[in-house]
Symmetry: C2
Subunit: 199 residues, 2 copies
């Protein structure tokens, strides 16, 4: 679906917007139309916020989280437990884990998942320097990758790489909160049985 | 859900993005993170496209469609049938109707729907000048508003306003293409029976 609108500026904006994550063709046009109908001040503020982020944000040279400054706020925090590294796909997963308040260690952001059919190999991820970081007094690496095909493949790759060098764990599997066993899918239910805990 | 990320630039961008149509809190953060991790050239191009749209686009003074120029491409096209006006909620609906190729008349974009609980009254819509336009040799006004509560209320309001001045029709109701009667909701199925056509 592409609209036959003879407006070059609107089309150019829609074409750029549809490359954003979670924005499809129709969503891109809807946003473009909304912005074209908005007060210019609002659109200029958005453009300014974009420029500010691209100028002030970089990747943390240690963990590849986003950083406004020389390193990210986690690597710079002297209170964090430097014996643990939690491996995540992207900063959004990191922010979500931080939101739980249940983790006080460091992170390592891979920047993607291994996916041969999309041309993502281990060499295009931040994997090599994880091996280096592990040698600096780290006692545990926690794999917090998605439980998808790509996530599993990446977890297995990283676990193999670190084998014998450090203790490697992964996030627990089981019933999400609020879900009754009868409505859980068989794989989740099986995981929850294998991962049962003494009460 | 809001992340406790101590980055002012990223947060400001996410806050602006979540005001866009179809973008929620999580989606806004995902887009902000994606842009913060993107090559600066790509982000600058998006900012430029935003500025260009806000500088080069305005609302058409006749029909309130988007216009890059003095009026929209439809109002400026001498080939269009000026005896018909199709009333739509927003430019996206207009673009979609244009995509069918089934309509060669003019349009009138209301810029919203009447919604007392959201504070949208007829006076905040482009309704008044529709009445003026109708007096310029228009023989039919086609209401192409959503079949929602607000859409119905707006259709009824506009129909009442134009009553006795011009023929008013609305889009046909019935089964969408590819849908079997057994899977249609009762209202749609009832509409399709009332709107049955001789074959």
């Amino acid at each position: 679906m592409s609209f036959k609108v003879p407006y070059s500026h609107l089309r150019r904006l829609a074409n750029q917007l549809k490359r954003l994550p979670g924005v499809g063709e129709r969503g891109a046009w809807r946003i473009a139309i909304d912005l074209a109908s908005s007060p210019p001040r609002r659109v200029r503020e958005l453009a300014k916020a974009l420029i500010a982020v691209t100028e002030k944000t970089a990747l943390c040279p240690k963990c590849h989280n986003l950083a406004e400054g020389e390193a990210c706020w986690i690597c710079m925090d002297p209170e964090r437990d430097r014996s643990k590294i939690c491996v995540v796909e992207d900063p959004l997963d990191l922010f979500s884990i931080e939101g739980t308040g249940a983790y006080r260690g460091l992170y390592h952001v891979l920047g993607g998942l291994i996916s041969p059919w999309e041309g993502v190999t281990p060499s295009s991820l931040h994997v090599g320097d994880l091996l280096e970081r592990v040698q600096e007094g780290v006692s545990e690496v926690i794999l917090a990758l998605p439980s998808t095909l790509e996530g599993e493949a990446t977890s297995q790759y990283v676990a193999k790489l670190l084998k014998g060098k450090v203790k490697v764990t992964r996030l627990g599997r089981g019933l999400p909160v609020g879900v009754e066993p009868e409505f859980a899918d068989p794989i989740t239910l099986g995981d929850s049985l294998r991962g049962r805990e003494e009460v």
